[in-house]
Symmetry: C2
Amino acid sequence: MTTIISGYVNQHHLRMTRDPGCTCEYCELRELFVDNLDGDELDIVCTGKVERDYVQGASIIKEGTQIREFSYLKSGLVKLLRTDTSGKEQIISIAKPMDYVSLLSVFSNQRYNYSVVALEDSVTCSLKMEEVRSLINDNGRLALNLLSKMSRMTDKLILDSLQIRVKHLRGRVAYLLLYFSEDVYSSDEFDLPLSRKEMAEYVGMTTENVIRTLSEFRKDGILKIYGKTIQIANMDSLKSIAEFG
Amino acid sequence: MTTIISGYVNQHHLRMTRDPGCTCEYCELRELFVDNLDGDELDIVCTGKVERDYVQGASIIKEGTQIREFSYLKSGLVKLLRTDTSGKEQIISIAKPMDYVSLLSVFSNQRYNYSVVALEDSVTCSLKMEEVRSLINDNGRLALNLLSKMSRMTDKLILDSLQIRVKHLRGRVAYLLLYFSEDVYSSDEFDLPLSRKEMAEYVGMTTENVIRTLSEFRKDGILKIYGKTIQIANMDSLKSIAEFG
DNA sequence: CGCGGCTTTGATGTTCATCAAGTAAAGTGG
DNA sequence: CCACTTTACTTGATGAACATCAAAGCCGCG
């Protein structure tokens, strides 16, 4: 039932769709908005929302641009990153569906202080900020849900960041591999959605040392590595390293 | 007008007061609650709120205890800390008045996953969570204000944490000293509210190396140090180290 | 085919943690 | 109030973790 109202395709192969028949009530992500809204409010969401497709590598949000929408991820995988004072890129977080893309800044700043890039082909769903503000203003249950959701997301982000700071390189890399294995792909074999360089940007170390650590894991029989494909051969060791390394 | 209804004094010299005449509308912190509330709602805040006094070193919130209240800091200075996986304490943040004490977890978790301790004599003001939830549910303007405030706080926390990660020890210590000088005491001479060990817990390094760095700054003529009293002798150097170190 | 970016390994130096030892300060009990 | 214990602070020496520099192989792409 989804019709393409804008066939516009830019260098990133972006596609925008609207949804006149409104399939929002069947959306996997309805828990937040739809379940808390009545008929009229639901209409605002249905007619106001915009879905966008992004191919792997496409830029979804650019640091410094104005915040006009409240977006979240319907499918795919994205990275949040920022440019640090010395000009290097730093990955803040990786978000999968159900995680907000707009979790930071949306209700505080005028502009994004981070960028979002698609790690896999991804689909976002966005509402205009004024519409979201108006819905929150009129609907207390939605407001509480949103507070709760935001609080959970930022809590996790902060605790992850604190945990990673006390770990050594081996522990950080193990932690990251386990994240993909358990939270994203639910498998002990998967294709890394990050380059070695991106892994380094995420764990806050150099590319060379990330590679060295992966090689060590391979030599120790913990991993089997075929380019970007990773197979975890010794899950217990990896978990132990992630926790105590 | 403030009467002590509970003269209870524990080992931390805690004092609880209620405020029957309601001075909330004159509170320096009214911007959040009072300005967004009408008469009846204001009554809930006035009669429901509880102020508590804590002496330096007193425990305000203990990690793992149940969250029953929404609190913020009226005066003083506090540290937020948690116990990391290896059992060591890690300082998450330092909060001064206008910063929430309850910024993390309150709307997501059942229990605190961090502790709060008074670095200076402090006063908190608390409302029951149910009352806050009910107010948010009924008052959209309050909800939006709260979202905005929370978002600003967590944004700052996350960005600080990311920035500190790319800096070396000298940069981190300089950053911390500038925080006290500029944001807390508005002076280039002040008494450090943290021990050397606490500074280490905050910047994520060892006590010895924090001391070494302070000594270096002293030898380089950037600081004058008299025990806990710090005088910044060369502000430009310190700022430069904080940014590029 | 050749260029640029990503990946990998090795050699070297820097930053930082750890261990050790000593001094100063602050609390504790008689 | 003093002897005692504990805790905070300080400096030095050593080794581990990590960054940096260098060089070479790989791969995709125009």
